[in-house]
C-alpha cells in the first residue's frame, strides 16, 4: 500500500484558476459521494471509537448504548496495566527490527536487480509474491515452517548442529518469529519502491563516477546512496506507518503470546475488545487510539517530507 503525497503536492502546485460558480458546484457534485462516505464510514467509526474509550462499558450497556461517561479512566487503566510496558516495547522492537532488515535487504536487492541481466525483470516480479499473498496464507505457512517438532526451519538448523528452537511457543523467540515473517512480507515493497528510485538516477552520474576511478562500493556509498536519500526517507516512513498497525500476522501466528511475549498495541487492543469472553471495549478502544496517535506522528512527518521534496 502506498500513499500519494505527490498527488497532493501536484494539486497544490498547479496555478489556481478558480472555477466559476457553476463549475464549483459540478466539482462538489462529483465529490459528494466520497465525502459522504468518508464522514459515514471513516469519521463516524473513529468517533465511535473515541466515544468507546471515554465511557465505562459493560456488554449490556454496549448493546444498549447507555454507558456512563468516565473521562480518561480507560486510559488510566491502560497505562497502569502490567501489559502496557511490554506491549509498547514489543511494538517498538517489532517495528524497528522489521523495517531495518526489510530496508537493508530491499536496498541490496534493488541495487542487484538494477543491473540488467537475463531474467532480471522476471525475477524481480517474482519477488512481489510474498507481498501479494493474503496475510493469513503467509502467517499459517510460517507457523508450520517454524513448528518446534516438525518444522522445516528447525530441521535446517539441525543440519548445522543447532538445537531445535521453540519458535512460537517460547517467550524468548515468539517476537523474533513474527518479526521474521513480517520481514519476509515487507521486503518486496522496499525492493520495488527503491528500485524505481534507482531508475530515476541518471546513468551519467554513475558513468562519471566510474571514469573518476570510483569502484563499485564507493559508487554505491558516495553516489547512489546519497541520491537515493529522499526515496529512502519516504520508504522508511511509509514502512513505519504500515508496520505499526500490523495485526494479522502476529495474531494468527502467536495470538500475542506466549504470556504477552509478542503482544503489540495492535494485538493488545484486539484482545481487549474481542479476545476474551468478557470484552473490555473501553480499554481496547483506548489502546487503539494510542496506536492511531503513534501512526499519525510518523504519517504527518511523511507528508511533510514528501511535500518539501516536491516543492
Amino acid at each position: 500500500m502506498t500513499s500519494h503525497a505527490s498527488t497532493l503536492a501536484r494539486t497544490r502546485e498547479k496555478p489556481r484558476v478558480r472555477p466559476a460558480g457553476h463549475d464549483r458546484l459540478a466539482a462538489w457534485a462529483f465529490l459528494a459521494p466520497v465525502v459522504v462516505y468518508l464522514v459515514a464510514f471513516y469519521a463516524y467509526p473513529l468517533y465511535r471509537n473515541l466515544d468507546l474509550s471515554l465511557r465505562h462499558y459493560t456488554v449490556r450497556s454496549f448493546v444498549r448504548g447507555d454507558a456512563p461517561f468516565s473521562g480518561l479512566d480507560n486510559y488510566r487503566t491502560v497505562f497502569a496495566d502490567p501489559t502496557f510496558g511490554p506491549a509498547l516495547l514489543h511494538t517498538l522492537v517489532f517495528t524497528v527490527a522489521s523495517i531495518a532488515v526489510q530496508f537493508a535487504a530491499g536496498l541490496a536487492l534493488a541495487v542487484f536487480f538494477a543491473q540488467h541481466f537475463r531474467l532480471s525483470s522476471t525475477l524481480r516480479a517474482l519477488f512481489l509474491v510474498p507481498w501479494l499473498l493474503p496475510l493469513i496464507v503467509s502467517a499459517s505457512t510460517w507457523s508450520w515452517m517454524l513448528n518446534s517438532d516438525s518444522g522445516v526451519v528447525n530441521h535446517a538448523l539441525s543440519l548445522v548442529n543447532v538445537d531445535a528452537v521453540n519458535w512460537l511457543t517460547s517467550p524468548d523467540w515468539a517476537l523474533a518469529s513474527v518479526v521474521i515473517a513480517n520481514i519476509w512480507i515487507g521486503i518486496p515493497f522496499n525492493l520495488v519502491v527503491l528500485h524505481s528510485g534507482l531508475q530515476a538516477i541518471p546513468a551519467e552520474v554513475h558513468e562519471a563516477a566510474a571514469i573518476d576511478g570510483a569502484n563499485g562500493w564507493q559508487r554505491f556509498w558516495r553516489v547512489t546512496f546519497p541520491l537515493l536519500r529522499p526515496v529512502s526517507a519516504i520508504t522508511l516512513l511509509l514502512g513505519l506507518v504500515y508496520t505499526l498497525k500490523v495485526f494479522d500476522i502476529i495474531w494468527i501466528m502467536t495470538k500475542g503470546g506466549p504470556a504477552d511475549a509478542s503482544t503489540t498495541f495492535a494485538t493488545w487492543s484486539y484482545r481487549l475488545s474481542f479476545g476474551n469472553l468478557l470484552p473490555e471495549f473501553g480499554p481496547g478502544a483506548a489502546v487503539g487510539n494510542l496506536l492511531i496517535v503513534m501512526a499519525l506522528v510518523f504519517g504527518l512527518l511523511y507528508i511533510r517530507i514528501q511535500r518539501r521534496q516536491s516543492l
Binding site: 500500500m1 500519494h4 505527490s6 498527488t7 497532493l8 494539486t11 472555477p19 464549483r24 466539482a27 462538489w28 457534485a29 462529483f30 465529490l31 459521494p33 466520497v34 462516505y37 468518508l38 464510514f41 471513516y42 467509526p45 473513529l46 454496549f62 448493546v63 542487484f112 543491473q115 541481466f117 537475463r118 531474467l119 532480471s120 525475477l123 516480479a125 519477488f127 510474498p130 501479494l132 499473498l133 493474503p134 496475510l135 496464507v137 499459517s140 505457512t141 517438532d149 522445516v152 530441521h155 519476509w184 520495488v192 519502491v193 524505481s196 530515476a200 526515496v231 495485526f247 494468527i252 495492535a266 471495549f281 478502544a285 487503539g288 487510539n289 492511531i292 507528508i303 521534496q309 516536491s310
Partner: protein, 269 residues
Amino acid sequence: MRQYAKTGLGLLFTAIMLFPVYWMVNVSFTKDTDMRADPPHLFPWDGTLEGYRAVLDQQLPYLGTSLIVGLGTVALTLVLAAPAGYALAKLRPQGGGTLSFVLLIAQMIPGIIMAMGFYAIYLRLGVLNTIPGLILADSTIAVPFSVLIFTAFMSGIPDELINAAQIDGASRWRTFRSVILPVSRNAIVTVSLFAFLWAWSDFVFATTLDGGGDHQPITLGIYHYIGNNNQQWNAIMATAVVASIPATLLLILAQRYVAAGVTAGAVKD
C-alpha cells in the same frame, strides 16, 4: 561479474525468497502420515490429494463468499473513487487540497481500530455478519488509495480533450462518462485489482464483523482450520494455495499494473 553469474545469483535469491511458497505447496500434497517425518519430505513424491479434496468438500462456500465480497468491494470502490478523482484532478474545487490530505491520513489509520468502530455501529444497526456490511468495511481499505490513484492518473489527461467535449456541448457528467472514463482504463484496472485483492485477503474486518456469520470469507475458513487444532496441515495448506490463486493470477496477467500500484506516489518522477 559475468552475466550468467548474475542470473545464477538472481535465481538463488529468488529461490530463497520463494521457499515458503514452495513449502506451502509441498505440504499441501503431503500425506498426514508423512507430515511429521524426520527428515521432512522436500518433495511430495508419494503425495496425496486429500488436502484438495478437503477444500472441495468444505471450503467452496467460503471461496464463493470471498468472490462476492471482492467483486462487491471493487464495484463500490470504483463508483466512489472515479468521479472523485476526476473532480480533484480536473475541476479542482476549493477545498480539494484538504480532501486529498484527509484521504492520505485516512490510509494510515490502523484497520483494527476501524474494525472496533464498525463493530459498535454494526451491532446497533443489526448488520453484523452480513455480506453488505463486510463489503462496506472492506471498501475502506481501498477507497482513499483509489481516489488518489485516479487523481494522479486523470491529472495526466490533456485538457484539450475535455475542452473539445465541452465545446461540443457535453455536460460535465457526459464528459466524464464518454471521455474521461474510457481513457482511464489503466487506472480502473489498477484500482480494481488492488480493491479485489485487499478485500479477498482481509482478515481483520472478517474476524471482527463476520465472525459469527453464515457466509464467511476464505480467510476465516483458513483461520477456523488452524484454530480447530485438527493439525490437518495438508488441508490447511491446500486451502492456502487455493486462496493464493487471485494473487498469482494478478501477478501473471497484470504485473505492470501491480508494480505501478506499489510505486505510485511513493516516488516522484
